[in-house]
Amino acid sequence: MKKGRFLLRWGAIVALLVTFSLTGIEAMGVVKQPVASGEQRADIIMIDTLKTFGKLEEAPVAFLHDQHTDALKKQGKDCTACHETEKDRLSTKFKRLKDVDMGTVKETYHANCIGCHKEMKSQGQETGPTDVSCRSCHSREVKASSNWKAISMNKSLHYRHIASDAIPKGSEEANCASCHHKFDEQSKKLIPAPGEEGACSYCHKEEATKDVQDIRSASHTSCVSCHVDVAAQKADSGPVTCQGCHSADMQAKVKVVKDVPRLKRNQPDAVLLTVADAKTLATDSKGLMKPVAFDHKAHEAFNDNCQACHHDAIASCATECHTVAGDKKGGFVKLEQAMHKPDSQRSCIGCHNERKAAKDCAGCHALIPEGRTSDQSCSSCHAEDAKLDGTAQIKSMSKEDKAAMATAMIEARKPAGIFKISEIPEKVLISDLVDTYEPAEFPHRKIVETMYAKVAKSELASAFHTSKGTFCQGCHHNSPASENPPRCASCHGKNFDATSNARPGLKAAFHQQCIGCHTAMELEKPAATACADCHKERK
């Protein structure tokens, strides 16, 4: 008996250890996620409406919207088969206008989904699940994967709406007011807002508020409803299905209007960007950064829509959100960061950096460290020749004065160009390192001409290549721009030395410059490994 207990005890300990190690492995193991497979669709709606009433008891239903639209179309039914109309607009909700309570909403779905499926089945039509098995619809496995892509109202699409016959064109006001409106607090009504038009997302945010719909409902009730109505009049209309707007394929097929006329919303042609928040202007009377003359009209042409810069509101960046000190409204992003953050597409520098990555520019710019600023960097925007200095003067200037000053400053900017072609050496013989190869004959002038031709028309380049020597500095870097830059060997020694400024050795300096630029510009010839294409092998 005693011996039995002894064995039992040890047995129990061993068993415990085994269980622990096994459960331990289980706990650490990767839980398999259901893999979405099969086709890609842009119309998958996960029906999880009941989550507003508490924790979901069942998995959300993956509902393929366009599949249902098509099926109903075949029966001669339209959107109203599922969506009710409220104030001439289709509700995005299914078979109801309001979410009353959990029981009602649940019953709405169950009765109508299964009811319709059953009806179709009785007519011998192909249809969805008709059984009462929950998992037929509430399945964790989604058979298709989503390729939903947000659609943006770009200039071209916007212009096509303005020009559309379906939208009243009588007056500008009526035309704009077809879509643009504002919420009147007093009358609790939507009223036209001439001169205050902005992007939908300025008011319609991700989450709905008491008075304002969320962006999803707002765009679907407005866009789809209108498209449906216009299509009903047999006129040329926009998409009414999910895929029509939200699949990448369909987006690629959207007709693009080139040379869209400039939008008219009383926006300025030129802006004098100053430190515009009242607090800073009141407390700091001098020593603020010099203003920047901003060519608003030119930048309108470079961007798809106003939101590219005016991402959250049309108002000036600095007045409320991106103040000098940073504000909660602007996510504490200070004015300096808002304008200069190198990794933000909305900041000046961030957007310019993106342009510099284009292959015509990358030859030089890929080799220049990102975010590096030289003495001239600040003054290329914050113009030294600006007569303004300090806040006191800015405060006393009227809006018109500022605009006039900005216009003058922009006009004063003249592309610097490059040195006279005759002054640029035609060929340079690189013979510093002649060893196993003959000297390389470098077609200096041809290269300068070819490279300059690629950027001569770029407004960005002409705005920032501020002296004749700037362009030369792509190769003749780190020394002041000059007609007679120093030889490479003045700075680059024989070998790399991590301690002395970590400059490449002379051989690498040449090769990195030539091959690096060719690679960045995606020039295929000569290949990086074709040594003899540049310098003949010494026999």
Binding site: E370, N495, P504
Partner: protein, 354 residues
């Protein structure tokens, strides 16, 4: 052995084990490399796959001529590894950042700060030099090839076709040239300085500055700074190192550090386990002995008891039987006497019966 003795023994074991670990920890301080050690930094964004480094390596180390010349770049289409005749190979990989532009990586001995090959070698044929290179002494080698199994990057190769004096072959970081103040052959020839030679700590500083200056060009990681306790061949790249065929899951612990724990456990296991197990056996045996004795005693006691009980019962039974017999005799005697005293009238009975 009694309970007290056993507990004492267990306590002693624990103490020794604890002392053992602390001694091991103290003896294995974190080694951060020789202060003056050299290193090579490979920049995958600079390498163009020209194979000049392979060529230079071959010449400097006087290795046999390869089947295909070094300017034949078609060999890059196959993934190659280092062999006993080729200390370094350049391989081509797909570039996940830009599919039109393949990336290249040079492969060779990484010259670990605490080399796995050296820790696996029981004759100390591999040695880490203060200059940074891991060098091999063929006069000591016994040909066990543990080094080849130990190397996390599978670099050392063996001269299988040398029947009499086979050696383990691998990159030496051109240690003899370094001692002469020259650059390693591959570094010297590289046209784009994709290979940079310098003091390890300075190269790390350089690499950090470079990553900071070109955040889009490089991943924020220097491979080899900490991998396997750090190596003297370092890598920076624009694509994940795994895509360049560099194992990413090696961890930051050096091979000797990983194995020293297990090896330090050997004396504990060999010294203590026999004592412990013998102790357990002894306890078990004693318990069995006691149990047997108890059982024997009980059996004999039971037997004695049973015998005496049986005897007592017998005697009482006998007594009882005696009394009963006596009574029976008495009764019989009485009966006989009574019968004898009764008058004789037996004659009537047979008549009635008839």
């Amino acid at each position: 052995m009694n309970r007290r003795k056993f507990l004492g023994l267990v306590g002693a074991t624990a103490a020794v084990a604890a002392a053992g670990t602390s001694a091991h920890a103290a003896g294995n301080t974190h080694f951060t490399g020789h202060p003056e050690a050299n290193a090579v930094l490979f920049d995958a964004t600079e390498c163009i796959g020209c194979r000049k480094c392979e060529d230079a390596c071959n010449k400097v180390n006087e290795l046999p001529k390869p089947d295909k010349p070094f300017d034949d770049l078609t060999v890059l289409d196959t993934k190659r590894r280092t062999t006993e005749k080729i200390y370094t190979v350049v391989n081509k990989y797909e570039n996940s950042k830009n599919p039109n532009l393949p990336v290249f990586r040079k492969n060779q001995c990484n010259h670990c700060q605490e080399p796995a090959c050296a820790s696996a070698c029981f004759v100390k044929a591999f040695k880490k030099t203060p200059e940074g290179a891991v060098v091999y002494d063929e006069s000591l080698c016994v040909g066990c090839r543990y080094c080849m199994i130990a190397c996390p990057w599978s670099i050392p190769a063996y001269e299988y076709d040398e029947p009499l004096t086979p050696r383990v072959m691998k990159c030496t970081m051109c240690h003899p040239r370094i001692l002469e103040g020259k650059l390693p052959g591959c570094v010297e020839i590289c046209p784009k300085e994709a290979l940079k030679f310098g003091k390890r700590d300075e190269l790390i500083k350089f690499a950090r500055n470079r990553i900071e200056a070109y955040p889009d060009r490089y991943l924020d990681h220097i491979y080899g700074e900490n991998e396997m306790g750090g190596t003297n061949w370092l890598y920076i790249s624009g694509v994940p190192f795994g895509e360049l065929g560099l194992e990413e899951g090696l961890g930051v612990t050096s091979a000797p550090e990983l194995t020293s724990g297990a090896l330090a456990a050997v004396p504990v296991v060999t010294g203590l386990w026999p004592v412990l197990l013998t102790g357990l056996y002894a306890i078990h045996k004693t318990r069995e002995k006691i149990e047997k004795k108890e059982k024997d005693d009980a059996v004999s006691a039971a037997l004695t008891k049973a015998a005496s009980e049986a005897e007592a019962k017998l005697s009482s039974e006998l007594e009882k039987a005696d009394v009963a017999n006596k009574r029976k005799i008495e009764v019989e005697v009485k009966k006989a006497v009574e019968e004898a005293l009764l008058p004789k009238d037996d004659d009537d009975a047979p008549e009635e019966e008839a």
